[in-house]
């Protein structure tokens, strides 16, 4: 790998941005000093590219909708319940699940940085880390929801969880109507990433079918 790097460095860099050049320089210094194993870098990235993502959280939600014992476990010990599905670790060590109801809608933000439950949702999207979301989610959640095409009755209480400490939050969206008898796999297809952040709702079976997510 370090030979590969040296090889790359011999090429003309005129097409690279200042940031790219800085990152290349930093990487080659750290690898050359032996501080970083290049293969470890690949595996770190691969974990979130291939294994960990919102499909995990969707399985948690689908099980909670299907299995009352699991829902009870989730309420008492979210990290423990989620671990039974094999989802554990970094940025999800101490989880809390918040259930949406017809009266209460939950929505998660981190105004100070980007705290997000990695084991169940993967890495956060750019908008979640951006100034517009971080500034307005706490002060104008209905305005933000409107930008996500989510409109709630004015008497629905909106609870915004500003996760600036060490707890990480997963929203449990309401189970859509018309899903009686659905398998966990079918239910999981209705659970979008945004519905687990609180900037979306779970899809109706019709919407999921029209998007090709459900057969």
């Amino acid at each position: 790998m370090s030979e590969d790097n040296d090889h790359h460095h011999d090429h003309d860099h005129s097409h690279l941005t200042e940031t790219e050049l800085r990152v290349r320089a930093l990487e080659s210094i750290l690898v050359e000093k032996g501080y970083v194993d290049p293969e470890a870098l690949n595996r770190l990235v691969d974990t979130y590219e291939k294994k960990v993502g919102p499909q995990n959280g969707a399985m948690v939600v689908a099980r909670a909708w299907s299995n009352p014992d699991f829902l009870e476990f989730l309420r008492k010990d979210a990290s423990g319940a989620i671990a039974t599905l094999g989802f554990t670790g970094r940025q999800g060590e101490d989880m809390i699940v918040k259930e949406n109801t017809p009266e209460i809608h939950n929505m998660v933000v981190c105004t100070l940085c980007s705290c997000y439950p990695w084991p169940v949702l993967g890495l956060p999207p750019v908008w979640y880390k951006s100034a517009p979301y971080r500034s307005r989610a706490v002060s104008d959640p209905r305005g933000v929801l409107d930008e996500f095409d989510v409109s709630l009755p004015s008497e629905t209480e909106i609870r915004v969880w500003d996760s600036t400490a060490e707890l990480r939050y997963l929203v449990l969206p309401m189970r859509p109507e018309g899903t009686e008898g659905f398998s966990e796999e079918q239910l999981a297809a209705l659970v979008t990433r945004n519905s687990m952040i609180g900037t979306g709702l779970a899809l109706s079976p019709e919407d999921a079918r029209s998007q090709g997510l459900l057969s």
Binding site: L30, T88, S130
Partner: protein
């Protein structure tokens, strides 16, 4: 610190822009910065709160105009330079010279295990609770120049204890290298009308998890 990162309640940043089918990384260098940050964090030479402070203390104009992984990059470089693991000369092209020996290198075979086990900041500490669920508390009006998890928009405001999470590493001291000093972290409910004034939506509340050291009885 009262830094550029403390966005809650600010105006002027415009609408939230979503990207359809967004990838995790928008360029190869973002993957590299992500990997380098986690790999160097695994050396144990500093803690995650020190990393956060390094990012927050980027000059405000630069912070606001940087992308997320540019902020990670500058934060990482700052902390690597502080620990003498990288020099400005090396970044400018001087031959690398090992000045500090690092004992813990994250090996590829350990990546999966390290990520799956994580590192909880929760501690088994026998600490007496200063507050009970239902208590009214006021967030102190303090402005530390170092890392803190007391967002500016709740300082001086009154909330109600809604949950008691137990003892967690105190980020303020941990970031300064003064030890974990675990403290009780509480879930606290603030009415939007308390935070944003009487015109705010009465059906809106904001919850924050705050350490006891940030609070006083109200």
């Amino acid at each position: 610190m009262n830094g550029p990162h403390d966005y809650g309640g600010l105006h002027g940043y415009g609408p939230v822009l979503q990207e359809a089918d967004e990838p995790n990384f928008h360029a190869d260098w973002e993957e590299t910065v992500f990997g380098l940050t986690l790999a160097m964090g695994a050396t144990g030479l500093w803690n995650i709160d020190a990393s956060r402070f390094a990012r927050e203390s980027i000059p405000p104009a630069q912070y606001i105009s940087s992308s997320y992984y540019q902020i990670w990059l500058e934060g990482l470089i700052k902390i690597l330079r502080k620990h003498d693991l990288v020099s400005a000369q090396e970044l400018a092209g001087a031959p690398p010279e090992v000045r500090v020996k690092v004992n813990r290198i994250l090996a590829a075979r350990d990546v999966e295990k390290v990520l799956a086990s994580g590192g909880s900041a929760k501690r088994d500490a026998d600490i007496q609770l200063g507050f009970a669920i239902g208590d009214r508390v006021r967030v102190l009006n303090r402005h530390p120049e170092t890392h803190t998890r007391m967002p500016h928009y709740v300082r001086g405001h009154i909330g109600v204890i809604a949950d008691i999470h137990g003892a967690f590493v105190f980020p303020d001291t941990n970031a300064r290298g003064e030890g974990e000093q675990p403290g009780i972290c509480y879930g606290i409910r603030f009415e939007a009308t308390e935070l944003w004034g009487e015109d705010a939506d009465p059906h809106h509340a904001v919850y924050l998890d705050l350490w006891e050291a940030y609070l006083e009885p109200a």
